[in-house]
Symmetry: C2
Subunit: 458 residues, 2 copies
């Protein structure tokens, strides 16, 4: 019963229609009952896709906590648009239900100072101070992605007492997978997973089952480091502490999954020559802003390569066939360089290139350049010899190819490693350096050798 | 107190040394006590990094469940190497403690049939049938990544009774975040998170708090689809059902985090022209196998482009300056095409390109090509006019640039979309098509126009 794509799409459409009917027409009792099983992400999707329906109409009958959840799901820079659908008093009630990290994201992404001031005025004193604290951390650090909602307990309880306490504060426990044991000064002393709680006999003292060597992040830790920690240890939640080892927030795995996808997208975009944050279905102006700067940089390197060719115009004018062959040498060098660069840049991003294996990897890349250069150079040499009946033309092409492919793989290793050392994101700038080297050197090797052997080529 | 990189490395080294001392020299009581706070991933890291220490010596004093956890953490194709360190009887005991999905990965990755037969002989009957079932699903589907360990309960219990039950089966609850309610035929009827359990009063019937609209995956669902589901709904665990809606496994978020990273790495490698699974610090032979095939394919397209240039040799021989300029036109086309292709391929991978927005995105890419082509073409036209003092040469270059960049962005959209339609991974093959088009058309536009205007260029 493997379903076809058609069937899946049909099923999804039917589900959407059902949800739409429910939101617009169901009696308030039915609505409340059914809402328990509906994820806010689905309602948000409906708000986005139903162009003929007023979002306000879709949302206004929903209870405040659900609206808050829906806004939580929305992209940073669209959150406020949703909130603004409601009258002022209701906005305050909804804000009260939002989590601190999402509030901080919303405030942090607002550019209109007047709107921003209005919004901040609607926050409770507690939220306002939390948001201000969260915004003081750079967005790509543990502090920037953590939430300040978590459950802490003192260590003098039993499992039974803890369960009673959790039942009491039920509403706050949503989305928590662990409890944190702190002392009176809020220093992190230990942690317990919910699994620990549900599997231990009721009379077990918390002290006996808590893990006192808590894995934790520091507020200033880079989000990529935190993300790797989640992956390495299979975490679902990680507490965040400040300089004084006080518990200040937690990061949950759903945030990390987003971080992992975002970082991968950023690297892929950078390596493809897109700067800035461009969305596939975003406005034209964003695309131009993201692409033109790199095109201009690439143009400069293209002029450089063109200038090298210009140096050899007299050689080319004597053996015009060179002009058709030379782009093979530079093109293949570009491909080989891109391959090396790709594997090194990704390896660096995943933390797989380090002091210990750096030299070994370098030597491997060198050998890859030599061997693939010999293979590809050999083929090209034979083909050009056959096509033009001149063995020297074959030799010049083959030799230039080997040299350029070796330069390519070595550059593909050295450039990202050097950029990393200089604390520049290797994904961002490696490509342009690598292709510059392979173009400039490719033309130089090929046309230079051709000039040396010119008498034999004519 | 932001720590420097030096300090962090030092700290990590000290931690490693401490762990090494513990594993090699601590008394068995101390060892047992301390092990609770040590993650198997850290022990595995030590096994990998300590070249002077025998891995057997490091591991043999550890209890079986910990060894099983360490093997769980190891890469698929290295798992068996670790297991083999132990005598036969101990191997059986360790295998008994391993999770079914990891067992299946180990069995699935073994190529030596004789070793494989030996290993299968050591599995319990239950494990053997589970592994065989799991291996029947393709590795990139829900069935291929799920585990068969999960907790199911009948719906006639209260929260209190459930807690007593969980305490009883404590050992099996490890790494579970939800309970599943099934009927006698194992049909999935509902789910409860551990949060539901710990926050509900003891006398609450399970029926009252279970979610009966369970979000679930089908065994044949693609892992990328499952991964997007986790991200969209912020899941930590997802049950997997078969055609009869029977619960057959669960997927946890730590597997998904791995999937997300793997898929991103695969896409990045594919787009960089690496086929197969190449590791940055892997053997030279793997690198050659991964790179040479694409280099050969690229070589064929390079010959094609070179042939196009050859068609215009007589034009080039009359205006040699063309040979220096033509690579600017193809190079910039290649860059623009790569940009478009990158944003489209990533958009497709994230499910952001669909029927509704396809045309809009296509038009945008067309306009990006037109506008960036006009900008870059304009600059190049002026520069070449100034360099060579011939206004027609500037015009030919500028016009060819605009045409090629429009062709580039349109191809950058069309190729990945077409490949997706043909169920070929767009990341894998888009690049070579796009650069072929931009090279061939780039040379054709530029040299063709130059031939048309030849009398004005001489």
């Amino acid at each position: 019963m493997s379903r076809t794509e058609e069937e899946i799409i049909k099923e999804e459409e039917a589900g959407k229609q059902k949800l739409l009917d429910l939101l617009l027409h169901a009696g308030s009792e039915t609505l409340e009952e059914q809402l328990e099983d509906i994820h806010p992400a689905d309602i948000l999707e409906l708000v986005h896709s139903e162009e003929e329906t007023d979002p306000k109409q879709l949302l206004e009958r929903l209870p405040d906590p659900i609206i808050a959840d829906i806004i939580d799901e929305e992209d940073e820079d669209e959150k406020y648009e949703l909130l603004k659908l409601f009258p002022e008093e209701r906005q305050k009630a909804i804000l009260e239900k939002m989590s601190s990290d999402e509030l901080a994201d919303m405030v942090g992404s607002m550019e209109d100072k007047s709107e921003l001031t209005k919004l901040i005025g609607k926050l409770s004193d507690e939220d306002r101070s939390e948001v201000s604290q969260l915004l003081s951390y750079p967005p790509d650090t543990a502090g920037g992605i953590m939430a300040t909602e978590f459950i802490n307990i003192y260590d003098n309880k039993t499992v039974y007492k803890t369960l009673l306490y959790l039942q009491e504060i039920a509403e706050e426990v949503e989305n928590s997978y662990a409890l944190y044991v702190v002392d009176r000064q809020n220093h992190l002393k230990g942690s317990l997973s919910l699994t620990d709680i549900v599997t231990s006999p009721f009379d077990t003292p918390i002290l006996d089952i808590m893990n006192s060597h808590v894995r934790k992040a520091h507020v200033e830790d880079d989000q990529e480091k935190v993300s790797r920690e989640f992956e390495k240890y299979g975490l679902v939640e990680l507490p965040v502490v400040n300089d004084d080892d006080q518990l200040v927030g937690v990061i949950t795995v759903d945030d990390i999954l987003e971080v992992a996808t975002e970082e991968a997208t950023e690297d892929i975009h950078y390596m493809g020559g897109l700067s800035g944050e461009e969305e596939v279905d975003g406005p034209l102006a964003d695309s131009l802003r993201s692409r033109l700067p790199w095109l201009v940089v690439n143009l400069l390197t293209a002029f450089l390569a063109s200038w090298v060719v210009g140096l050899f115009e007299s050689t080319i004018s004597q053996v015009v066939a060179l002009s058709a062959i030379m782009s093979i040498v530079t093109g293949m060098g570009g491909n080989a360089g891109t391959q090396s660069m790709t594997i090194i840049v990704r390896g660096i991003a995943l933390g797989e290139v380090n002091r210990e294996n750096g030299l070994r990897i370098f030597i491997k890349e060198f050998l890859v350049g030599l061997l693939t250069g010999a293979a590809i150079g050999g083929i090209v040499a034979i083909v050009e010899y056959v096509l033009h009946g001149n063995v020297y033309l074959g030799l010049v092409t083959g030799l230039a190819m080997i040299l350029n492919m070796m330069a390519a793989t070595v550059t593909g290793y050295l450039v990202p490693v050097a950029l990393k050392k200089m604390k520049i994101d290797p994904a961002l700038a490696s490509a342009v350096f690598v292709t510059t080297v392979t173009d400039v050197l490719g033309f130089f090797f090929f046309l230079g050798l051709a000039t040396l052997f010119l008498p034999k080529l004519i």
